[in-house]
Every structure is written in C-alpha cells, then in structure tokens.
C-alpha cells in the first residue's frame, strides 16, 4: 500500500522505459512485493482495454482533402486561380481608369495615386522597409538579369520583365518574392548610390497607363504605372527625379 515503487517505477517498467539495471532491480522487487504485482496486473489490464477498445479516431477523409487544398493556396505558384483577389483588382482598376481620366483632365491636381493600386500605400512601404532588414533584401542576389529572371520561373504564375540598368546608374541587385494586397508579387531590387529601390511587379489585365505622379509618405516616394499586362510600383528613399528616371527606363 505504501510501496514507493508502485507509484512511479512500476510505470517506467510497464512502458519499457527503464534501463536494464533498473528493470532487473524492479523485477527482483516484484517477486517479494504483492502490492506491486497486483498493481502491475491492473495497469496491464487497463492498458489492454485502452488499446483494444478502438478509441483511436482517424481523421475524416474529406479533412485531408480540405487541408491539401489549403496547402496549395499557401504554396507558390498558387494551384488555384485567386478569383476574389482579381475581382478586387478589377474594381481597383476601374477606379484607376476614372482617376487617370481625372488626372488628364486636371493635370497636377491629384498627387496621391495610391488609391488606384491593388495594394495599399502602407503595404508598399511595409514591404519596402521589411526588405531593408538584414538578410531580407533578395532571395536571389545577382546583377545578371539572365540569372534573376529565370529564378522566378516556377515560383510565380507569371514572368516579370527583368533588366539591368547598371550603365544608366541603376544596377540590378537581385530579386525576391513578396506579398502585396494578398498576392504574390515579384520584387526587383535596384540600387542607386547606396540607396535601395524596390520595384514590385504583378500581372494585370488592365490597359497601360503612363507613369503616375509620385506619392510620398514617411520619407518614401513611389511611382506606379501599368505596362503590357504588368502592374509596377517602384519605391525608395531616393529623390523623385531618380525614381522617375528608373521608372522611365523600365517603362521603355
């Protein structure tokens, strides 16, 4: 009744978790301790009840299916077309068209073009700032456009145009996958006199636009445009004239 072995060591013995010495020691004890012998019998009986009663419950078949579908969505390239996101993009694009019409009708009035992008200004700035953290800038570090461009193959459902502009003073640093507005996007990284410029690229079904006037917040500038089925947003802390220069180079 007060045998210390019953309380603990017996369980280690039952579970086969004692080392050889302690197990032998317990077996010797078992010969002379009725309490432990009875307890061991009870525990063995309980164990066989637990294991033989079919208490183990397997996952329902459709759960596995559901989880696989969710995993696909969380994987790049996405296996399923994300219709809701694109629908939302279409709405944003409509606003964009209206906004650009207003822009041409009253030049230099609407300075902030952010409301027309399928992602928020905060997201762009966050993504830019995040990329500046140590080790976050590039997934593929290369100044060679022929290295960076193929790297995106199979990682995105589209191929972003990648060009190096080292001769024009904007050397390509590398590329990265990022997420904006819930979509996977390509981020191309350029440098300009030690400053970093991120150019986010994602596909669009909307018509081309000119390079929109700059947006400015928290010391960061961005330029947004659409060209040949791609949506672009360049962001940096460089001067707007530098940013505009790079935007023009990419636009050509």
């Amino acid at each position: 009744m007060s045998c210390d072995f019953t309380r603990t060591v017996l369980h280690g013995y039952l579970d086969g978790e004692l080392d050889a010495t302690r197990a032998a020691e317990f077996e010797r004890h078992l010969e002379s301790c009725r309490e432990c012998a009875t307890s061991l019998g009870s525990e063995e009986s309980l164990r066989s009840s637990l294991q033989r009663s079919g208490l183990y419950e397997n996952a329902p078949l459709d759960l596995r299916k559901k989880i696989r579908a969710e995993l696909d969505v969380a994987t790049v390239p996405p296996a399923a077309i994300r219709i809701p996101a694109w629908r939302w993009l279409a709405v944003a694009a409509t606003i964009m068209v209206v906004a650009s019409v207003s822009w041409f009708a009253w030049p230099h009035r609407g300075i902030d073009s952010a409301s027309t992008t399928p992602f928020t200004v905060a997201e762009i700035i966050d993504a830019h700032v995040r990329s500046l953290q140590p080790g976050h800038l590039t997934d593929v570090a290369s100044t060679d456009q022929h290295t960076v461009k193929p790297w995106f193959n199979g990682k995105l459902a589209f191929v972003p145009p990648v060009k190096d502009f080292a001769d024009e003073g904007f050397p390509l640093v590398g590329g990265r996958l990022d997420v904006l507005g819930g979509q996977n996007v390509a981020a191309l990284v350029y440098s300009r006199r030690k400053h970093i410029i991120n150019v986010f690229v994602m596909p669009t079904k909307e018509p081309d636009t000119p390079i929109h006037p700059p947006g400015l917040r928290q010391g960061y500038q961005w330029r947004h445009w659409r060209r040949q089925g791609m949506e672009y947003c360049a962001i940096s802390d460089v001067s707007d004239s530098d940013l505009y220069e790079l935007a023009q180079l990419i636009y050509q």
Binding site: M1, S2, T6, R7, T8, V9, L10, H11, G12, D15, E17, E35, T38, S39, G41, S42, E43, E44, S45, L46, R47, S48, S49, L50, Q51, S53, G54, L55, Y56, E57, N58, A59, P60, L63, R64, K66, I67, R68, E70, L71, D72, A74, T75, V76, P77, G154, K155, L177, V179, N184
Partner: protein, 188 residues
C-alpha cells in the same frame, strides 16, 4: 507557447516545400486528429483545430530541421488545442495538474478488466480526466509515444513523464471504477 514551433513563419513556400510537407508531415494527420479529438472531446471542433494546426505547421515548416515529424506536428496540434480551449472552454483548463498522488488501494485487475471492456464507459472515464492527464494517456496508450516524445510534445520535463503517467493512470482507474460503484464494490 513554448517549443520549437515558434520558428519564423514564412509566407512563401514553394512546390518543393509542399512535396516535403506532403511526405513528412501530412501522413501524421490521423495522429493530429486523434490528439485533438481527445483534447477537445468533439469530432467537429477537432476537424477545425486539426486543419488550423496543419496550416500552422506548414507556415512554420521552414523552421523544421528534420527529426521526429510526428512529435513536431503533435506539439503544434497540442498548442493549437490549448489556445482553442482557453478561448472557448476556459473552465476545463482550471483543474490542477500537480495534484498529490494519494496512496489508494489498487483496484484488482479483474475489476478493471470488466470496467474497461465497456468502450462507452472507458471513453467517458477518459473524458472526465483533466486535459493534462488525458493527453499523456492518449499519447502513450493510443499513439504509442515514448517518454522522450511525450516530453517534447507536452513541454513537461522528461524526468516527470513517468510520474505524470502514474498519476493519470490512477485517475483513470478511479474514474472507471467510480462510474460503476455497485460493480466496483462487488468486485472489491
């Protein structure tokens, strides 16, 4: 939350990660579901929580550097279950774990055999145990985990797994036999 599932979550997992996850982690979905089912005592809730845990595991997958994939997954499942319980059934978590192990007369093997033969009664008895007793029993007896695995899944020191199991088994015996006082007294 404690343990290694705190690795940095990554949003961008590619086809290669997906294939590795399918091969290493997804086969343990039954184990994940079974643990959730016994912790939450409900199949419907367990489906949701097992699914959530599996997706969490996928997001943390880059932080899994090989080793025991089942234990790694079950640790995440367990944490997800406790988070769910805290939110939805906080009362269930308020039972003490470190209850003294009172010496009590052992129940005879015959009595236990009779009580344990009834699946319904066994299920009920198991479900009356506090979650922290229930989980070590489920991991040991249904999942066949070693003490080392139990320690890593439940975040209790390996040196105390044995006594935790001893207490859990005593509680289960008591719950089983108390459920049927007339039979218990007859047998005793």
């Amino acid at each position: 939350m404690s343990g290694s599932d705190q690795g940095k979550g990554s949003d961008v997992l590619d086809a290669q990660d997906r294939a590795r996850f399918e091969q290493l982690v997804l086969p343990h979905l039954d184990a994940a579901f079974n643990l959730a089912r016994w912790l939450l005592k409900s199949r419907a809730d367990s489906e949701d929580v097992a699914q959530e845990a599996m997706l969490r595991a996928y997001r943390f997958f880059r932080g899994f550097h090989g080793g025991d994939a089942r234990a790694w997954l079950l640790q995440i499942v367990r944490n997800t279950c406790y988070t769910w319980l805290e939110k939805n059934r906080p009362v269930e978590l308020m039972t003490e774990f470190d209850e003294e192990l009172h010496p009590q007369p052992s129940v005879s093997p015959e009595t236990l055999a009779i009580a344990g033969a009834n699946r319904e009664r066994l299920t009920r008895a198991l479900e009356t145990l506090p979650p922290r007793f229930r989980e070590v029993l489920v991991l040991r007896e249904l999942e066949g985990c070693s003490y080392k695995e139990i320690a890593s899944i439940t975040a209790i020191p390996i040196g105390t797994v044995m006594s935790a199991l001893a207490r859990a088994r005593q509680r289960l015996q008591r719950a089983l036999t108390h459920a049927t006082p007339q039979e218990a007294s007859r047998e005793l």
